[in-house]
Symmetry: C2
C-alpha cells in the first residue's frame, strides 16, 4: 500500500519543482495545467467522468456526475511560490487511492463520490484564496473574480479562457458532505503521536492590501528632510503588525511586497504590502487590524506619505460540522480533533454543506515551504482513513 | 535653436516610455537597443564613425577615432525602472547638437571629439552603476562584470553577446578631457536662477546588498513566538538606516527589495534589501554603514534571523579637475559651481582624465522619476554651453 502511494506520488513530484525543491504551481500556469491533465488521466484510468464547473474547478466522478447527495473529496493543485509539494495535491492523490481501496474492498457506493481539484486555493496568482470554491458558492461575484490580475496583468478570465460561471447553487445543494484531506500545517499531530487527525475549526482571517504612496526621487540627491519615502511607513507597519499580533494572541504577517520602481538609487513612489491577519474570533481579528491600520496612518502622517487600505479577502470563523467531525473521529478510532489557522476550500463550502477535514502528520510542522513533509507511511494511513470515511458517508 | 532641440528630442521621447510617462530603458534591453541604433543613425547623418570598445560603450567620432588628445562628451541611454527621460539621454542629444552648432560656426576641431554612450550607468539591470566606464578604466574586472546577472538570470556577457573586453588603458590615455552634460538632480540651479552649472564634486557613495535569512513557514499556522521572520529584521534596518543617515548628515536609502517567496500567506525565507549610502566624505560614509549594519545584526539576533552583507559597488569621493571646472565656469560667464550626491561615468573617468560636468536646470528638483524635467530653453542653453566648452577644449 505504501508502495502504491509512492508510485502515484512520484508521477507528480517533478511537476513545477525548482532546483531547490520548492514548488511553484500557480493556478492555471503551465505546471498546474500539467497536473490538471494528470487529473483527467487518473480519472480516465479509473473510468471516472470529469466535469468542469465553468469556474476552473474539476470534478472526477465515481457514480453519476452531480447526482443527488454527492460526497465531495479532493483538494487543490496550486501552491504558493516555492512552496511545498503536499499542500493540496496530497488530498487529490489520496482521494484517487481511496477510490482504488474502496473498489478493492468490493464497495459500490450508494451516493456519487466526486474528487475535486479546486482552482486558486492559495491565492498565489490572483490574490484571492479559495477562489474556485468562493465562485462556486457565490462568496465572490464572477465579475469581480474575472478582473483579478496576476503579476503580469493577465486576468483570471483570460487565464481561464472565458468569464467564470459564478455561483452554482443547484450543484452545491446536491452535495451531502465534503471531506478534504490535507497535510497538517503545524506539529500538533506529531506531538500527539498520531498519523491522522480531524479538524475542529478554522480561525477567522483575511488579507488587506496596503498601498503606501510617497514621492519618487533620487536616493543620492534628495535630502533626508525633503523625502516622502513610503518604504519607511511600510517598514514601521511591518513591525507594528508583529507587535499588535503578539499583544492580541493572534497572527499578523506582512510577507509580500511590491515596490515601484524597486531600484537601489530611487526613493520609491509606491510600496504595496499585504497584511495577513488571523485570530481565534472575529472581534479580536477586527481589533487587531484596526490597531495596525491606525498606527500605519500615524506613521504615514509623520513620513509625508499616504496610505490606502483595501480588504482583499475575508473569511469568517469556520466551525466544521460538529456531528460530522465526531462521526469521523469515531470512524477513525478516536483520532485527535484540532483547530487550524489556515483557510481551505472546505472552509468555504462549510457554510453550505456538512464539511470536515482530515489532517495528515507533518513532523517538521513547516508549511508553505519546501521543508513541508509527510512521511509515506502517514500518507498511506491518510488514504485508509479517507477510504473509511467515504465508505461510511457514501 | 529650441525648435532644433525639440525635433531631435521628440525622436527618442517615445522609446521605452510606459503609459504613465515613466521610462524603463534598461541597458541592452529592447528600448536601449533601439536608442543605440538611433545613436548610430545620428552619427551616420553627421558622417561620424562609430566605434564600440568591447565593453558595450559606443563612441561617435568627429575626427580620428581614438586619435590622441581626444575630447570625450556624451552620457548614457539607460534609465532606472520607470525613471525620467532626461537622466542620460540629454547628454547624448546635446552632444550631437553641439557638434552641429560647432559646424555651423565653421569650427574644425584640432582634437578628435568623441560622443560616448556608456552602458549600464544606472546599474538598473546588472546592479553595478557606471559598469561601462568601470570596465573601460579597469575599476571592475571583465570576469566579475561578465557574471553579473539581471532579474531573469541573464548575465552581462550574455546580454552583450560576448565577454566584456575590460580595461583599455591605451584608449583612456588618449583622452585629453571628458565633459558630461547632465540634467541637475536637485533644485539648486533653479534657486540660483541659472540655466547651466558646473559640477565641483561627487559625494563618495556605495551599494550594499543585505541578505536577511529566516525560516519560511505558513503565515496562518505558525505561532508568533515560533517565527524567524526576516521581514522584521529588514523593516527594522530600513528605519535604522534612515535614522543613522539623519544623525550623520548623510543619505541612506533602502529602496529595492526582493522577497522569497513573496506570498501573502508565507513567512519569507529570505528578504534581500539594497542599502544605498552617500556622505560628504569617506570617513562619514564608513561610520554610517557600520552603524546601520551593527543595528541590523542586533535585531537579527532578536528575530532569530541571520544577515549577510555584500558590498556591490563603492565610489570614492570625486573632486572634478579644479583647473578644468574653473575654466568651464569662466567660459560660461561665471556659471555656478555645485556638488552632487549622484554618481556618473564622468566620476569614474575623473580618476584618469581631467573631467568636468555641466548640469542643466531641473525646476522640479526630482530625479529618477517621470517628474524629472528640463525646460526646452534650458536644454538649448545647455547645448550652447557644451558647444562653447568643446570649442575651447578641442
Amino acid at each position: 500500500m505504501t508502495a502504491t502511494f509512492q508510485r502515484l506520488w512520484q508521477e507528480i513530484a517533478p511537476i513545477g519543482r525548482d532546483s531547490k525543491g520548492g514548488y511553484s504551481r500557480y493556478a492555471l500556469s503551465a505546471p498546474e495545467l500539467v497536473l490538471r491533465d494528470w487529473f483527467r488521466n487518473q480519472a480516465a484510468r479509473r473510468s471516472m467522468n470529469v466535469t468542469e464547473d465553468g469556474n476552473g474547478n474539476l470534478f472526477a466522478w465515481w457514480g453519476t456526475p452531480w447526482g443527488h447527495h454527492a460526497v465531495i473529496t479532493g483538494s487543490h493543485f496550486d501552491s504558493v511560490p516555492h512552496g511545498g509539494g503536499y499542500d493540496g495535491p496530497l488530498g487529490i492523490v489520496s482521494a484517487f487511492l481511496a477510490v482504488d481501496l474502496l473498489r478493492e474492498r468490493g464497495i459500490t457506493p450508494a451516493k456519487p463520490i466526486g474528487i475535486a481539484a479546486f482552482v486558486e486555493e492559495e491565492g498565489g496568482r490572483f490574490g484571492v484564496p479559495c477562489l474556485g470554491s468562493r465562485l462556486l458558492t457565490g462568496a465572490i461575484t464572477p465579475e469581480k473574480a474575472a478582473q483579478l490580475c496576476d503579476a503580469d496583468g493577465i486576468t483570471f478570465a483570460e487565464a481561464l479562457g472565458a468569464p467564470p460561471a459564478g455561483a452554482l447553487p443547484d450543484l452545491v445543494t446536491r452535495m451531502s458532505a465534503v471531506v478534504e484531506l490535507h497535510i497538517e500545517q503545524g506539529r500538533a499531530l506529531d506531538d500527539l503521536g498520531a498519523s491522522v487527525g480531524v479538524a475542529s475549526a478554522i480561525w477567522p482571517h483575511g488579507r488587506w492590501r496596503m498601498d503606501f504612496t510617497g514621492a519618487g526621487d533620487h536616493a543620492g540627491t534628495t535630502r533626508m528632510a525633503d523625502r516622502q519615502d513610503p518604504m519607511l511607513t511600510f517598514a514601521y507597519t511591518v513591525l507594528a503588525a508583529n507587535k499588535e499580533a503578539r499583544l492580541a494572541g493572534a497572527h499578523a504577517t506582512i510577507a509580500r511586497v511590491l515596490v515601484e520602481p524597486n531600484a537601489t538609487n530611487a526613493i520609491p513612489s509606491l510600496v504595496r504590502g499585504w497584511l495577513d491577519a488571523r485570530a481565534e474570533d472575529t472581534a479580536t481579528l477586527d481589533r487587531l487590524v484596526e490597531a495596525v491600520v491606525k498606527r500605519a496612518h500615524e506613521r504615514a502622517s509623520r513620513d509625508g506619505t499616504t496610505l490606502a487600505v483595501e480588504p482583499e479577502s475575508s473569511s469568517p470563523e469556520v466551525a466544521f460540522d460538529h456531528a460530522l467531525r465526531e462521526r469521523l473521529a469515531g470512524i477513525l478510532g478516536g483520532a485527535p480533533i484540532l483547530p487550524t489557522g489556515a483557510g481551505h476550500d472546505a472552509g468555504v463550502l462549510s457554510a453550505h454543506v456538512p464539511t470536515a477535514m482530515l489532517f495528515v502528520r507533518n513532523p517538521t510542522g513547516v508549511s508553505h515551504s519546501p521543508a513541508e513533509h509527510a512521511p509515506d507511511e502517514d500518507c498511506t494511513a491518510g488514504v485508509r482513513a479517507l477510504a473509511d470515511v467515504l465508505e461510511t458517508l457514501a
